[in-house]
Amino acid sequence: MARFLRAEPWGSGPKRVTPAMIGIYAFLAITALFFAIPLYIMLVTSLKTTQEIRLGNIFAFPQDVTFSAWVKAWSSACTGLNCNGIHVGFFNSVKILIPSVATSITVGSLTGYALSYWRVRGAGILFGAMMIVAFVPYQVFIYPLVRIFSVLGINNSLFAIVVVHAIFGLPTMTLLFRNYFASLPPELFRAARVDGAGFFRIFWSIMLPMATPMLVVAVILQVTGIWNDFILGLVFAGRENVPMTVQLNNIVNSTQGERTYNVDMAATLLTALVPLVVYFASGRWFVRGIAAGAVRG
């Protein structure tokens, strides 16, 4: 009642739907659909039988849901003559992932810390060089690296692929941590020096605990990056360590006779599962980490 009795504006104004808002929501909805529809088709197809897929209704929901394609993809899909399923590649990828992520983050955070706090001679030039190299397409390095590794006798091994991932992750990791440490008040570092802490003590006891959001971001970036890698795994890992992505490619491309789309879709979804889980589980941290890198944490 009181609202109608007042002639002049009072309190918070009426909310209006503006064209700009409609536009924004329309854009967001279309973008969401653009990414969601392929995912939906894959999921639905993976749950169908081959007969049903042949009908061609790709948007239709499966008439009788079956997980046989998932089971087949995991445990008995064929790559060439081996029919062990994609789980071989999954565990290969895990074997590559864990040491690669650990190494690249350890080395990257240490380098970033050293570059931002300890006046290393030529630190600026070093950092600049690293950044320039980060923008060079890494395919350029593949052949020389293969030659170097084969001379050293470590080509086609788990060790080689871990080293390669650590090297290629280094510029991004260093940049990430250097910028984060540079945004912290320098007095913290000075206080620690006056307190008698040395290089590793300051890093371990003071800087690393403060860099938790950056560590989470680094883990996300490296896990998705290394998991999704194809070419490096193909070239450096060797035949017994082929990562999941390479095996997925082999499964999808080497089918003889009838094409089992449901198995292909299931295998693809299984491969994509790890990055998806990482994103869903850490979305909040991811945003926080990006923001923490931009402004003071």
């Binding site: 008040p185 913290l188 000075r190 206080a191 620690a192 006056v194 008698g196 006891s205 003071i206």
Partner: protein, 359 residues
């Protein structure tokens, strides 16, 4: 408690490449002395403190602490502790861990660490804050913990880099008194950097006023306030600031006279540092509280008043320059009043107008 050390800076020069921040600086701080480095922001006073701490390399000269040449020593080998403006508490550690960090690094036995932290916490009344993280503390509490972190180390020299600048006015006064009390109790050598002249005057045994790469004046608060060595020191120390009237020096049979327009001021009783020159361009400096009301004095018209509670600041003109007078807070003077005032020549300062030096 470790015995206090003396600090001796011998010809210290600090700079970045060709840019000099400080030039040939000599400063001797006695045992148990409280020395304040005072200067405007960017004058290099914090840089000097960082150099004493060993956090910045010096380009020339020596730093001696407790009779040891520590010029090339690491910060923790110098026997110093430091308190920073931004507190610089380790954010992921509790107050207790912050305070014990240095002792942990040094590998002291646990019982000793606990005892020393407890003793300092009690002295600073922060015992109940010990298990909180810095983010759960207020500004004043954080600075207390930061001071505690320095005290726990029991060193010969404490360096304080604008420790009160990030606090609000009331807290600043409180902690200022506490720091003074602490110094009296510990009798430790303290070097304290600030740009706040009140802090300098209240805390210091001696003040070093720094500007333009050098120490402009080194002396007790009284000397700095009453007999500033140059015009910069005179204008920088004191609030409200000293009044300056530009004029010339004339010689009369009766003695030297300062003249500006119609204002003639005989200087009988002023202690000249150097022999005065007739006709020299000079500047007369008078503190607002040294312009005293007297029945037979010179008449001034009051143009504006600023009540400040305890005092009343009245603005007028003398010899063509605006001047401030300081009356007691109960004074009823208002705009348009005329008051008769006198100035004692013994309390004024005279500066050379080109060099700014005290005459």
């Amino acid at each position: 408690m470790k015995t206090p050390c003396e600090v001796d800076l011998r010809g210290v020069e600090i700079g970045y490449g060709p840019v000099k921040v400080l030039e040939k600086l000599d400063l001797k701080v006695a045992e148990s002395e409280f020395v304040v480095l005072l200067g405007p922001s960017g004058c290099g006073k914090s840089t000097l403190l960082n150099a004493i701490a060993g956090l910045i390399e010096i380009q020339a000269g020596q730093i001696w602490i407790g009779g040891r040449n520590v010029t090339w020593e690491e910060p923790n080998d110098r026997g110093i502790a430091m308190v920073f403006q931004s507190y610089a508490l380790y954010p992921r550690m509790t107050a207790r861990r912050n305070m014990s960090f240095a002792l942990n690094v040094a590998g002291r036995p646990r019982a000793e660490i606990a005892r020393r932290v407890e003793a300092v916490a009690q002295m600073l009344k922060i015992t109940e804050l010990l298990d909180r993280k810095p983010s759960e503390l207020s500004g004043g509490q954080r600075q207390r913990v930061a001071i505690g972190r320095a005290l726990v180390r029991e060193v010969g020299v404490y360096l304080l880099d604008e420790p009160l600048s990030n606090l609000d006015a009331q807290l600043r006064v409180e902690l200022r008194i506490e720091i003074k009390r602490l110094h009296q109790r510990l009798k430790a050598t303290m070097i304290y950097v600030t740009h706040d002249q009140i802090e300098a005057l209240t805390l210091a045994d001696r003040i070093a006023v720094i500007k333009d790469r050098i120490i402009q004046q080194l002396g007790t608060p009284q000397e700095i306030y009453q007999r500033p060595a140059n015009r910069f020191v005179a204008s920088f120390v004191g609030s409200p600031s000293m009044n300056f009237v530009a004029g010339t020096l004339r010689f009369d049979p009766g003695g030297a006279i300062f003249t500006a327009d119609d204002f003639k001021f005989p200087l009988a009783g002023y202690e000249f540092l150097t022999a005065p020159v007739d006709g020299a361009d000079v500047e007369l400096g008078v503190r607002p509280e040294h312009i005293e009301v007297a029945a037979n004095g010179r008449e001034l018209a009051i143009e504006m008043v600023e009540p400040m509670g305890s005092d009343l600041l009245a603005w007028s003109k003398l010899g063509g320059a605006p001047i401030a007078l300081r009356f007691p807070g109960e004074s009823r003077s208002t705009t348009g009043d005329r008051v008769a005032v006198t100035i004692s020549p013994a309390k004024v300062s005279l500066f050379d107008r080109t060099s700014g030096r005290r005459l």
